[in-house]
């Protein structure tokens, strides 16, 4: 036996001055100060771009909860963005402008949808699970196209952002900080969940579901609840996205959008707290930058992602930890 190994090694708190902590702190600091930069330089484009990063990062955080920690690879996660977005859009069109009504509806509708999808898909595994989540998302996509009253294929313009009393979301900076708060809040939420009793059941189930049942866990119901939490969280991100663009359309839920979310999570690092944020930022900035250089950004983005998938086990987060494959 190698008695020289410190048994506390793997349980040591991660908040030491590792490259990872320094890097993460820097990112959060930059994001926190971005509106100041934008105000000083008058550069609103950067602020708009980063607002989008924050929102999609929140969506990626929710996907990471089920995919990274729970091993449930949902290929229909963009459906929640659409449901949350359409909840805001439809209510706004029907004259209900209050965010206190719109946002809870966005969250509840997404949670309900997740409950139905999860109840069916979580009885399967692997490829079948992926296919069922994709099939449901496609269904919702076509439902949205069929909503003639709400723009159908062309989408629906939202004339006024959600009303929250004295908080004015039409102010760019205010809206940015709201998105920032939602993102940090969801990261904190996930951090608490994955280390709680519930979270360990989810992680155990990802690692070895058969063993979980053998030691006495009815794992299905825990996985289902986790799936619903992630759906609700992503629905909130959808409500933010609709407010951000003042527009919702079926394109929001196209299956390639679900693919983008998976890429963000994998790129940043599966099952890490800040991985989804790093992944979303990298993905969206790369996409933005490349689309200026070339007409075909995917031609470069594709190989980059391939390299990450092959060489970086654990995504960018893993790289910061010095964890590499092979």
């Amino acid at each position: 036996m190698s008695a020289g190994v410190d048994p506390s090694l793997d349980t040591a708190p991660p908040w030491l001055f590792t490259p990872r902590v320094v890097f993460t702190t820097m990112i959060v600091a930059v994001l926190a100060l971005l509106p100041v930069y934008s105000m000083l330089t008058g550069n609103t484009f950067t602020l708009t771009l980063f607002t989008r990063v924050l929102i999609l990062a929140a969506a990626a955080v929710s996907l990471n909860l089920i995919m990274g920690y729970g091993g449930m690879v949902s290929f229909g996660h963009a459906a929640y963005l659409g449901i949350g977005g359409y909840a805001v859009g439809i209510l706004a069109k029907e004259g209900i402008g209050s965010g206190f009504a719109q946002w809870p509806v966005a969250i509840a509708a997404s949670a309900l949808y997740a409950l139905v999808v999860g109840a069916l898909s979580l009885r399967t595994r692997g490829v079948y699970f992926i296919m069922i989540t994709l099939a449901f998302a496609q269904m919702i996509y076509y439902v949205a196209i069929g909503l003639d009253r709400y723009g159908g294929d062309d989408g629906l313009t939202i004339h006024k952002r959600s009303q929250f009393g004295f908080i004015d979301l039409s102010n760019r900076t205010t809206f940015y900080y709201l998105c920032f708060a939602v993102l940090l809040g969801s990261i904190y939420l996930v951090a608490r969940i994955v280390n709680s009793r519930f979270g360990l059941v989810i992680r155990g189930s990802r690692s070895n579901d058969r063993r979980m049942r053998a030691i006495g866990f009815p794992t299905f119901r825990y996985r289902l609840v986790c799936f619903v939490i992630a759906g609700a969280l992503c629905g909130l991100a959808g409500a933010l996205l609709a407010n951000h663009t003042n527009f919702v359309s079926p394109a929001l839920m196209h299956w390639t959008r679900s693919g983008d979310l998976i890429v963000m999570v994998v790129l940043g690092g599966l099952g890490t707290l800040f991985g989804p944020l790093i992944g979303a930022a990298t993905f969206l900035l790369l996409e933005e930058g490349l689309s200026r250089l070339t007409e075909y950004p995917d031609l470069i983005l594709g190989p980059v992602l391939l390299l990450v998938a092959i060489y970086l086990n654990g995504g960018i987060e893993g790289l910061l930890e010095g964890r590499r494959r092979g």
Binding site: D6, P7, S8, N195, R197, F198, V201, R203, N208, P218
Partner: protein
């Protein structure tokens, strides 16, 4: 006479054309160590699966502690006091040894819909888990991730997890599989300590271990019980010698 702790009657399971369990009837009274031996493919692991509920039988019944559990799901049976270890190590490899056992403890401390508190800080889970690790001699390795433990330690951890659920019947599927002689000897010592406190159904190829531990012995061939009873008597049974022990001895001779 009181009903044994575990009572299997007429249990039958066919996979396609293969009968893995052929009307198996077996009773294990509380406190007994009951070994099941048989050549590869005799249906030993299937038998454990049928008892734990991972495999549904086509016919027959399983009774535990006086109640019919034939139709209960795996986790419910575990809660009644039925725990198993796996032949092929089956652990949560990205968690620490202590986390693994803590999860087993947690499964028996009410529901786990607790989303906020850090489960690794809960003494209610960690103390019993450490005690179970200590019992199998792994206390010093508690903080290591499973992936960093040796094969023998994995086998010990398997037992610790089964123990942590507080079982009354322990189903051990080849606990010595792949172990060296030293590790095997340690495992035999460990199982001997458990003897009396918990009822054990032991599947094992290591004959030395079987005869050192078992109160009774059942021989399974092609899903059918060909002999069952006192180990010495079973060993002397000509049918057994021909079907299993003899074959094994020949193999050993050939092997060296």
């Amino acid at each position: 006479m009181a009903e044994p702790l575990l009572l299997i009657t007429g249990l039958t399971k066919r996979f396609g054309g293969v009968t893995a369990a052929d009307a198996i009837t077996l009773g294990i009274p509380a406190g007994e160590v009951h070994a099941v031996i048989g050549p590869n493919g005799a249906g030993k692991t299937t038998l454990i699966g049928l008892i734990t509920g991972e495999i549904a039988p086509q016919d027959g019944a399983v009774r535990f502690d006086g109640g019919d559990i034939t139709r209960l799901p795996v986790y419910r049976r575990n809660r009644l006091g039925l725990a198993r270890s796996f032949q092929i190590t089956s652990l949560f490899s990205d968690l620490t040894a202590l986390d693994n056992v803590s999860l087993a403890v947690q499964a028996h401390r009410g529901h786990s819909f607790r989303f906020w508190r850090d489960a690794r800080g809960e003494n209610e889970l960690r103390q019993p888990a450490l005690a179970a690790l200590d019992r199998v001699g792994l206390a010093e390795r508690a903080g290591l991730k499973v992936a960093k433990l040796s094969h023998g330690e994995h086998r010990q951890l398997e037992i610790a997890m089964a123990l942590a659920t507080g079982p009354r019947l322990l189903l051990l599927d080849e606990p010595m599989a792949g172990m060296g002689p030293d590790e095997s000897a340690r495992m035999v010592r460990l199982l001997r300590q458990l003897k009396g406190g918990v009822t054990i159904l032991l599947i094992e190829h290591d004959m030395e271990a079987v005869f050192a531990l078992a109160d009774r012995l059942t021989v399974l061939v092609y899903g059918r019980i060909i002999a069952s009873g006192d180990p010495a008597a079973v060993r002397a049974d000509p049918a057994v010698r021909q079907a299993y022990l003899g074959e094994k001895e020949n193999k050993d001779k050939r092997g060296g």
